[in-house]
Symmetry: C2
Subunit: 354 residues, 2 copies
DNA sequence: ATGAAAGCGCTAACAG
DNA sequence: CTGTTAGCGCTTTCAT
């Protein structure tokens, strides 16, 4: 437990270099002009003493802390985590440290965190959450910029960065159409869930533009494999002549795949299957591996962080910023090149990542 | 963007209350003695101005920041996240804010974060990671206390909090034995992986104490469903008369379940199946729902945070602290009460959580 | 019981 | 080009 000695201060550096603290400060911050030799001497002294400016002291007179707060609306979930990591990465590169605040769906807790962050003089705040549903602004007016990531603010003037889920659904349908499917079903999450709505609407609109409709109304349920299994069973029971199922999530798609497998329907030969979220552990373990839409959450987090940095530096970008989803093609929607039946395995026309 | 006016300082409060800043400070921090009326007046004034002490200023002369850093060794993963959330929760309750630092398996990056945290004068540091394997200390000597959570330090004097994985494996085997299984196989992750080793050893030791052995040597592979499927296929092919499979992870167990299902082996009637990690999304979606071992990662994070707070307050607890795993029983190891064959569904003797 | 004053470590004016 | 000086907002002696 050998506690190292008290950290060096700037005046230690100054005296070691034989200059005044003012000079030392300028030397270290590259400000003002001075004899190159002097600057070098100061820097060497700092090096020797492994001097690191005391952040509190610096903050006290610049007002800047080089910290930002990251608050989750609801708990931290599978979606918010990549967003946060992306943001942390981008901010870290910009020399900023990130305070982690888990709101846990509790508005009181959220406001407490907000107060804490403000008294710590964060330079900015990122608000995120595990759902894309818009939420009321975290506060009416704040002395620092705020960016909403993944989740958005109900105030259209607030800066939000969100995935284009409707566009993702569009890509899913276009991909199915392009690979020759026409009789498409949609199985998704709860009807009141924003993502379920947006994705279903996107799918329906895209089909309509092609002069088609879903073979049945969207099947709303839960975001679970169990629901996927049940819904697939219902779909089979309804006797529709389906050649593709677009699912609102990878978990649902896995459930669908397992029911279809048990029922003897082959994927992708008999039916194409496509999920949403590109959750690797689900999409890759699915049999066969699942085509899905990736919202690029980490990129989204990075983008949010970059917008926040810009705002902190006086270049705000108010409004809603949308980012495209990316189609990741795997076997479940592959175009089967040849034989109808017991080929040694489907011949695949498209590849998988990673 | 109506920036609110400059935040109130303690001298605003003091003058509104008609006292000096010194008095105001003492009043607000409950220090020294003073007329109750005076204290009340100051507090009201602070309230009115919604005064929040400037953290930087306070830090500058107390030296304490009421912040801690949380560094991940490797990237942030499925295991480190609950640990971090638990820690954040406990620290937040203790008025401490948490800096999030994602080391991403890069020692340079890790040391950079360490430097940053120290120059921010954090009161303490939590080191975590996604594997339980011990790692070298993050630094030889540090001016603040460090607690390792989930991961541990190779220096036995360092304070680490880790799950008792061997004990978890023991519980798994004891549960299987208690429910009448005797011919047990073990399928797990990579041989060089610490968790795989410890769990396999724990299982073997427990069996040995009962005068039994595994039906075959532990099958080491990957932490994936695919491996679970393959290994189960191999196990069937070997023709062993197995009545239970203990898997090193829930993912592996799911893979095993699916191969067994395809092969017509019923779970739990013909074979009991048990996983590890109690990853809800896997364990619950498994058919049937999977008995598993829960490492209580959030509790572990909380415990680590509490130990860190104690250390910060001068009561360190050096050494390795172990926390038990909890057996979560679901259908995959249920005792089948009755009929051998096509019952309407297994009658279950034990329950599931949540 | 209260007020005055001296810093905490640093930056940024301003002099020289 | 360099040194001196005045704070940033707060806590903490030390007088009164």
């Amino acid at each position: 437990m050998g506690k190292p000695e008290r950290p060096a201060t700037i005046s230690d550096v100054a005296s070691l270099a034989g200059v005044s603290v003012g000079t030392a400060s300028k030397a270290l911050n590259g400000r003002g002009s001075m004899r190159p030799d002097t600057r070098r001497r100061v820097q060497e002294a700092a090096q020797r003493l492994s001097f690191h400016a005391n952040a509190a002291a610096r903050t006290l007179n610049t007002g800047r802390t080089y910290t930002v707060g990251m608050i989750t609306t609801d708990s931290i979930g599978r979606f918010s985590i990549p967003v946060m990591l992306g943001a942390e990465d981008s901010l870290g590169a910009g020399q900023m440290s990130v305070f982690l605040c888990d709101g846990r769906d509790d508005p009181i807790r959220e406001q407490y965190y907000l107060k804490t962050l403000l008294s710590r003089n964060v330079d900015g705040i990122i608000v995120t959450g595990r759902r894309t549903q818009a939420r009321p602004p975290i506060a009416a007016a704040l002395p620092v910029p705020v960016v909403y990531a993944f989740i958005s603010s109900t105030d259209p003037e607030d800066c939000s960065v969100v995935p284009d889920e409707a566009g993702g659904a569009r890509k899913a349908i276009e991909h199915l159409l392009a690979t020759g499917r026409r009789r498409i079903a949609h199985i998704t999450g709860p009807e009141h869930h924003h993502s379920a709505q947006v994705r279903a609407t996107g799918a329906a609109d895209t089909l309509a533009e092609a002069g088609l409709t879903l073979v049945a109304p969207p099947m709303f349920g839960e975001w679970s494999e169990l629901w996927g299994r049940q819904a697939a069973g219902m779909l089979l029971a309804m006797g529709h002549d389906v050649d593709a199922v677009f699912c609102g999530s990878d978990q649902i798609a896995r459930g669908v795949a397992s029911t279809l497998g048990v029922a003897g329907r082959r994927i992708p030969e008999d039916l194409a299957l496509i999920g949403f979220d590109n959750w690797d552990v689900m999409a890759l373990a699915c049999q066969p591996p699942l085509t899905s839409l990736d919202m690029d959450l980490e990129g989204l987090g990075r983008a949010a962080a970059d917008l926040l940095l810009d705002a902190i530096n006086g270049r705000p970008s108010p409004g809603r910023h949308t980012r495209p989803c990316r189609l990741v093609v795997r076997e479940s929607t592959a175009i089967v090149v040849s034989q109808p039946s017991t080929a040694p395995g489907p011949l695949i026309a498209s590849a998988r990542p990673e």
